[in-house]
Symmetry: D4
């Protein structure tokens, strides 16, 4: 709801082409659709530059189906994250084009398209147990139109595996580091590169890992600067931030 819109609206009121009541209505009639249990925000793409995503955790399957249908009518594609496999089974038959990714726990309403936005995002993981979170990030970034490289299982306990991959890092615009346990990979990468680094702590670990707390604190306290941290296991959030950065970087290309 920016200044220009309001100014235009006011001008039309001034010129008599729009009544005060109608203008009031327009000022109030914000661009969301009311499903009673949910208010769909069709203009978010315009406002924040991001596409429609449904966070499914805690939502009932029939609600998800209803939201998917409404969003699907206006949006090119829809991504549903944190979707339980059992719920996916209930939901999939309603959407013939939809695809459910077992590892990422995500559903796509329609097939992915080829990357449309220049600039690569690199997704790295410390171990193979971090793959599920990395896959959520991969799917989100690809869904948002980005080109994604991956580099898996390069944790710091065998640091030569990482040092040999300088080229892959150099050609990325942004690097997402997904790591559980002590999450040290974020610090090592952050100290090697000049790109922005997005760190995703994962809940991979046991005992005093406290479901990701150890990796989260580790990343927040990184001795390398230039690192932004997202929530534990939040592959989606990391890809969203990466997307915002890359879209900004490549706006003028």
């Amino acid at each position: 709801m920016n200044e220009e819109t309001i100014r235009a609206l006011l001008e039309s009121v001034h010129q008599g082409s729009c009544s005060p009541d109608k203008a009031l209505h327009q000022l109030k009639d914000l661009p969301f659709e009311n499903l009673d249990f949910a208010r769909l925000d069709h203009h978010r793409a315009l406002r924040t530059g991001q596409a429609e995503v449904i966070f499914c955790q805690g939502k009932q399957p029939d609600h998800i189906i209803s939201i998917l249908k409404h969003l699907g009518r206006k949006a090119e594609n829809v991504l549903a994250t944190r979707l339980d496999p059992h719920h996916a089974e209930t939901i999939l038959p309603h959407f013939p084009e939809a695809y459910y990714d077992q590892q990422a726990h995500c559903l796509l309403l329609r097939p992915l398209k080829e990357p449309a936005i220049p600039g690569k995002i690199l997704i790295m993981t410390a171990g193979t147990a971090d793959l599920s979170v990395a896959q959520e990030a991969w799917l989100t970034a690809r869904y948002m139109g980005h080109d994604v490289d991956t580099l898996f299982d390069v944790g710091v306990a065998g640091i030569h595996r990482l040092l040999g991959q300088r080229q892959l890092m150099d050609r990325a615009e942004v690097i997402i580091v997904v790591a559980g346990m002590e999450g040290a990979l974020a610090s090592v990468v952050g100290g090697l590169v000049e790109q922005p680094v997005i760190a995703v702590p994962t809940s991979v670990g046991y005992g005093a890992h406290f479901q990701g707390l150890a990796a989260l604190l580790s990343m927040l306290n990184s001795c390398a600067s230039g690192i932004g941290v997202v929530n534990i296991d939040n592959g989606f959030g990391a890809a969203s931030l990466a997307s915002a950065i890359v879209r900004r970087i490549t706006r003028d290309r």
Copy 2:
């Protein structure tokens, strides 16, 4: 220590212009300077694109003076963060050009120059009590060559103060949101803009704030996506990440 350097070195060994011993020495003689108690990393600017910064907390004044002197010889300017006012008094007389910022608790070895890098960084705070952290971010960003806008005291308890400032937000490449208490400003800004948002929780609050934990958790769990979080009160870290993003964005301009 990139591939090209090694290849060139190996070529000169191959051509006999460099002995194996000398090459070995070069491979080992990494670009840091040993002060015995500290190893100065002069090439970090080359490697990560960032200038020299000294984190002073826990360091003794004579160590800081020594590091400042060594770095000052090779770098254009040096920033010292988390410098205690009492230590600053001891240190300042050794460096006639230096300036100590009481609010940011930072020292600059030489005066700031005009912004050299295109693209604005916007620093917002929720309240006036967050100014100290915002100032650390401001000084860091300016020291790294950036142009910075500020928008202070626009917390969500009076959300109209924020909504009236859409233009300032629109012209920034990256937005840093500094907020204590419940840190809700990050979510509101994150839901309004398409730029990357960097959230800095501050330790401003009391009781169940637990020295910034409340704001930190709040920002990590933001319902708006595209937000990267740094450590509590870490204005320096936020500016470093903003700098990495803006330098990337404006590389080709």
Copy 3:
């Protein structure tokens, strides 16, 4: 057991119409019923103005049935909260009029009546995943005789959805804000309205949400004043407090 009662009792002892032993008995024979494993408190409605509610978590189905039967004899209706769906299946056949709400995990012994107490309570949620807690609050408020409005899915990541609903807020006597994740909705609402706001953090979130801790701390540290917080997911408690406030407000109407 107020002063007047005691005074009357003492008067009747003084006048000989009541023996000391009998008076002692009355002073001791407080208005609860002993089921051996539970002491039912029939006079709570008189004392705190609230109706009978059974908190079922941790109770065995046969105990719940027994309590429902005893309470049901003297009370107009009974609400059972936190009732497991499996236990509900066991319990329902014993009470032909009873109704079990799947979303709220609550059982009502008899049908709800029309709202009897003037003054509206507004229940808002940040997302659709908070609906289960909101429904517990709704059922409780309605059971206690109140008129309830709802406004769902108006989280701060799309703040225009909220700002367009000023009228609904204005006509409520008390507002209950149900929110998970960073719980910022409570602060934004608290900054907009003059009514008392009751904030209910929910356990909706993941990772560093720590089962509702993030939202709880956020709400306790709200930069808006005039907000009372209840336990995580405690829709019942929020409605009870709202009821106490509204009954007080509308006492004289």
Copy 4:
């Protein structure tokens, strides 16, 4: 910025008595004053029904003086909370009418007036060590125009001290319970009365009290319903909520 104001503004645009530009200006020129480091919100009293309060923690004395002067010009009185005694000494000479309360750590710009709003607020404490927080609540409530009763040192370890004070409780519209240690007073009072109860955990305690965490958790988990909790030591917040409730209750009297 309610609907009526916008409608009136739009009408005047429609009738030509106000130009679109001027209307735009008014829509943007929100009622706050910009001090550069702070944005004063003069209309908060209109919007949330509450008077001007400055939270001083983390603010510098000269900033506080400046804010007090600006607010003091338009508001009848100003309350400054969490004001350090040393800062108070610096600030007081600038305001001849001002008064600093040592126990509450609060400053009032001008003397308190007689209570103007009908309806009593009762402030209870469990111990004498909770008096500082209770005094902040008392001052805030009185500053907001309320009539306040107090009942101190009635903790549950000597429960007869409490039970003998039924009358004081009965005549209050709202009860604020201030308690440290295990905070059990809130539960006992909540089980005795029908009024809304606002619980303020204090940091009074030691060892496993963890600066108020024990009392906070205790109050959030109260077995009595109808209790709203505010932040640890937040006497101001409790009084604000009490004020919102009482103003609502007594609106029509």
Copy 5:
């Protein structure tokens, strides 16, 4: 292994009735039985005055059976606590006299005898959801030979239920208070009686109860003195401590 035993042993060595080697053997041959995976401590009853108890959590059924058999040969009776119902089904057929208590999750190898030790233990609970822990305490106390009274569902939200039961409290030697939620019952009882009070926090609650942490902290911070706290849900530990106290009290009767 007290002084007298050693002195007697040394005397017999001195007198030649016991060889040094044999004495050494006796000094080393401490009274436990080695099952390879477990070392049974038959003399614990002598040493600490307590009977044999098996803590079953984390033990495999065949290990439990083996331990029960070995202990059962020398001890009059054996109590097994924290025994999973599924494991109980596997174990019961091996011991015809054994009895499994579903609520307490305990198994007794042989039937309980009449109380042999004078002096009553009173077990109180705040709610009916605390019964499972109370039952573990009851069974343990009875197994150790004590006479036990019970008083259930007397939580502080209806404090008159408690105040009417002064007699039961007065006739106990020790009082065990079992309470979840905010655990305030311990403080209220501790302020009313002169007997030692043992407080057992239970994990009954939700949200910010954090599996019993709220009740635990509450009890540790009780404003009433003379209260000893045991681990969350540790009915067994409470009864053991009560037993140690009562045996001490009634030693000379």
Copy 6:
């Protein structure tokens, strides 16, 4: 306010020797004295068998002086705990007989008397750094009339220091174990003796000790049964519990 008192009062009303109004007054006029900021509970000694104690933390010196004077008029002696040395200096001149213990941070209004109650309490510490807490326990126990033995610096890292002291343990009725660091002494003592053991975790430690949390959790999870735990550093609470037990044990002697 026990049954007999009420019955007697009612009888006198019945017989006309006491008017209903006077009886009501007596029922309400509970035995505490109102100092406005504090309600002194003179009958606590009767009710819980314990003497008057003032917890000074958070109280102002003039309040403490006032309470000491009022309590001192009716009680034989008064103990003030957690009294800051600086406050003690202010307070001591008002009470010529008073004594301040620097190590225990306690003040006694009048000199200690010889132990009047049979039965020994043994206070053990793991290290010399625990002496301050042990001294608070010692003073409290002696003030309450008990005979106290001490055994200091017998931590488990040199377990032979402990095993050689069996006799001291054997002659105590109750054992208080004061320990910081990992608090293992409580478990070792608990496994050796048949007496009740009261464990006091101290805040002695650093790093991951978290101000006593490590020792507290350790003691709550002791593998030895029959141990009651009090708050961190709570020497007073431990002695109060020990006193309640010993008075019970020796009632009939």
Copy 7:
């Protein structure tokens, strides 16, 4: 990748026997094998002296099978830890020689060999419920070629069980102490022996044990020095450290 290797490589470049390109390749071609989802580190044995181990938690069965096959080709044996029994059932049929240990949740690709490295490791447990973790340590140590003694169920509640086993302790080079609950065994053993002690906290306990936190903090705060702590339930890590120490000790024998 040590200095000698690089020097030799450079020499061969200098002598022309190796081209620069080939040398570059070798410098980059580090000794791991890329399975796309995992990078196998065959040279870890050379680098850290330890054999190949797969941490299976969070990995999918087909990934584990693939890794086992690749590692199995080059390594003498492979150990897979934290392997779920259900996954084990899927995996075992692919490897005829493999063995799955139900208690340790570990799989060995081929049978264990006789201990090859001199020097004993002693594994002690406090209780029988710690056996699962102890077994993981035992299997790991044996797999790494060590000779292992065990001493189970010697917790400090019956400290004589421990004191009688001095000989077993004396003949070990390193002692691993596995303990849950309050973990006091580590301190007692640490105070008795001169060998390095490795402490493994286990998650055995309940209530305020917080899944091993109590034992972990206890061991980190041990009053005995010379103790190294590993993560909760980390039997593998303890054995790895023990192995590193013993291999170092017995290098020259």
Copy 8:
């Protein structure tokens, strides 16, 4: 008190050269000295192979002086750790040979001797702010007779500083890694070497570092195996463990 000693004693009783009473006395007269407030353990050096160390935190200066005097009479040298500079000033005049290390906060009763035990200990730090803890470790190790190398400021944000120091690592028997912030250095070193690694988290950091918790959790969750962790800032403990390992390694040289 090993088996041989007891056997010899028993033999002498058998032969009559020692009376039972005298033997009993010897068995009880364990080798510690009672200072009333402390029990000095002169034989600890024999038992655990470690020299006398006084942990001064929480001890009063006169107690420390007294302990130093008693230990100083029998031991060759004494180390006092965690000694406050102010206390050091009070204590130093009593001991002419003593030396106080400002950085390590340690006092040595007499000058250090040349290293007597073969085998090097390497102490590494991540930053210069960790030097204080490293110095405590250095002093302890040297006091215990070891040869120590140091490698400071080699944190992972500039990993080439570390990789160039392979030789120093290779020649150590044990490596102590001291690191604050995210503590990642421990993992990187652990993945590079075959020696045992002892990790010391430091409290260097801010915000979400929580006084060392972040580094502690990070080290406990290291993806590299073979790492033993000690308490936060516990340089002394790390050196003690290193000493135990090195003495074991070099016993036979």
